[in-house]
């Protein structure tokens, strides 16, 4: 995975979470599967998806929530 690809994956993931915010809770593995499917032609693996998502949570662009199971959401949920 190139840095450019990683950037694209990160944008894709954040956009997905934004698009479905309040409608669907994405478990981390749901997002990994979405990435895998969407970037299939670029040979992106689960490992790559995990690495990209790790950067998003490390820098706080996405945060983890828990409601019967872990999911990823936007930082503004922190205040709720």
């Amino acid at each position: 995975m190139t840095d450019e690809q990683k950037q694209k994956i990160k944008e894709f993931v954040v956009n997905l979470v934004k698009e479905y915010h309040g409608k669907k809770r994405f478990k981390p593995q749901d997002l990994e599967k979405e990435v895998e499917q969407n970037f299939q032609s670029e040979n992106i693996t689960r490992k790559d998806a995990k690495a990209a998502i790790k950067e998003l949570t490390d820098n706080g662009e996405l945060i983890y929530g828990y409601a019967g199971g872990s999911f990823l959401t936007l930082p503004e949920d922190q205040t709720q």
Binding site: K27, T57, G60, Y64
Partner: protein
């Protein structure tokens, strides 16, 4: 929500339903910290931890939670980040919570116990470091627990409550010191309290001599526990790997079943536990692919069948892999059906 940046677990959030009436416990979160294997701490580190707990939380600890972690209770989200930073500077990382690998834990093992057949502390430390990502970034269907017991006494009840349990066993004969047996015979009735209580009746005590038919010993530890000076586990030491136990408090507890009857853990240790890590990864891949939300791995195996599970992780079925003796005498072997079908095809 309760948590610290970058981590999907380690902080267990609890909010009061009546925040106006009980403002003091409006938020009452718990931080799980990786325990030290064997629970050894210096008094100095405990004092420093206590200071953090006083300053940022309710001054209340749980040594240790049923997960095995140290738990610091009673803090607000606004304290979480600083509490966490101070703990990491002391050398403590957060433990697991949520749909993740929970902090692996072990019995005190060879640090204090002569019965351990392998180094429970070393393997637990190694797995904890290896699977940091799986602990701190929850991507599983549900929780996954690994617990390592040094012998079949299983002081941490790993066989009853961990999805993957590693329990020390031995292969060679139980070592008998007849002189010490004679000493015990002066103190209590060996036949009544030891030999007759052996679950497989594989022991004999006649004319002052104790014998064991080791081929029928199920390693229950009863005789060894009763006469620790006279009997010791056999020398060919390893472990048993069991899969699928869980103890939810509400309903449906289950025991695991034997996945690997004899795992040469002491040899695998020399290879950085490569075999075990590969096995765990395969189990997780299978669970990830076929498991449903909040389904523990043992429940998944029951749903899809042990055969399918074994095929997916690349293990051959063994007679030891039974949950209970079978009640149905009919067995269907699929590989025998295939040639038949082909023959029919040819004839037809």
């Amino acid at each position: 929500m309760a948590g610290v940046r970058g981590y999907g677990g380690g902080i267990v959030g609890r909010f009061s339903d009546e925040p106006d009436e009980y403002p003091g416990v409006k938020e009452y979160h718990t931080a799980r910290l990786n325990q030290i294997e064997g629970f050894f701490y210096t008094s100095d580190v405990l004092r420093k931890l206590a200071d953090i707990c006083d300053e940022h939380a309710g001054g209340l600890f749980n040594f240790h939670g049923s997960t095995g972690d140290i738990q610091i209770l009673g803090f607000k989200q606004e304290e979480a980040e600083e509490l966490f930073q101070k703990c990491t500077h002391l050398g403590f990382d957060l433990g697991g919570s949520g749909s993740a690998l929970r902090t692996p834990s072990c019995c005190v093992g060879p640090a204090r116990c002569e019965w351990a057949t392998y180094d429970t502390l070393h393997i637990t430390d190694n797995l904890t470091r290896e699977f940091q990502n799986e602990m701190h970034r929850p991507t599983f269907n549900y929780k996954f627990k690994i617990k390592c017991a040094g012998c079949p006494n299983d002081c941490i009840a790993s066989g009853a409550r961990s999805d993957l349990s590693i329990v020390g066993v031995w292969k060679a004969n139980i070592r008998i010191d007849q002189k010490e047996v004679a000493e015990y015979a002066k103190k209590f009735d060996i036949k009544k309290y030891v030999v007759d209580k052996c679950p497989t009746h594989c022991m004999d005590y006649t004319d002052g001599k104790l014998t064991i038919d080791d081929s029928n010993c199920v390693k229950c530890m009863h005789c060894i526990n009763s006469m620790p000076k006279a009997l010791r586990p056999g020398l060919e030491k390893g472990a048993q790997i069991r899969i699928g136990a869980k103890v939810p408090m509400v309903q449906d507890p289950r025991l695991g079943f034997i996945l690997i009857p004899f795992y040469d853990v002491n040899k695998d240790k020399e290879e950085d536990y490569a075999f075990l890590k590969d096995l765990i990864q395969k189990i997780w891949d299978f669970w990830d692919e076929y498991g449903t939300n909040r389904e523990r791995v043992g429940e998944l195996i029951q749903r899809v069948g042990v055969g399918n599970f074994l095929e997916a992780i690349g293990l051959d079925p063994l007679p030891e892999m039974v949950e209970y003796p079978r009640a149905n005498p009919f067995i269907k072997f699929e590989e025998y059906l295939v040639p038949d079908d082909e023959e029919e095809g040819k004839e037809g």
